[in-house]
Amino acid sequence: MIMKSRFLFPYWCRYLGWGLVLLHVPLTMLGRARGMVNVLDKPSTGLFTGEHLFFICTSLVMVSGLFLVAFAKEKVEDEQIWQIRLDSLRWAIFVNYLALIVSLVFIEDVGHMLDLNLYVPLVFFILRFRWIIFRLNLSTSKEG
């Protein structure tokens, strides 16, 4: 039986993903320099105005970058990697809901909820997944 990984992107997508994440920084800075404000930080400006479109574009770049990084295959995608992946996803959902519930109770402004929900699960998943794999590689190289 070959480990089924139909829902993962090919390995090179990881680099494309990091590229998009990095691209997000100059893009946002450029927008800010031209006087664009995060639409979540101010009262509604209406749909598909310049600022709204800018917000959509930058967020899309960032989220699709993180998405590609998170769901690109490892070089050898075996059952242990799969287990780490699932476990990290479980943790990411835990943390996401914890953050959502805490902010639901303690923060009045609900606009940030979108931001939280967009980034927390993916970022936390990537951090935990990479950290566990880093530790795995470390212990393997120690033992030779």
């Binding site: 075996d78 242990q80 590689n137 212990s139």
Partner: protein, 66 residues
């Protein structure tokens, strides 16, 4: 669950990397199985036993508390 992979590898004179390649997993996975940090699936355990040409129970065995 205990296992004899290290011993069996020594008998067969193959490295972790070679065993990993033969069963289609990463070297890290073989390493963590050997050091009993990861319990392989039944399929993977059967594949490993097949490489050594032994029945499953001679390579993997339950231990107290399993």
């Amino acid at each position: 669950m205990k296992n004899n992979i290290r011993v069996e590898r020594a008998i067969k004179n193959i490295t972790q990397g070679e065993l990993a390649e033969q069963v289609g997993v990463s070297r890290q996975t073989i390493n963590t199985i050997e050091s009993q940090k990861y319990v392989p699936s039944t399929v993977l355990a059967l594949k490993i036993a097949r490489v050594f040409g032994k029945p499953l129970e001679e390579v993997f065995m339950l231990e107290e508390g399993d």
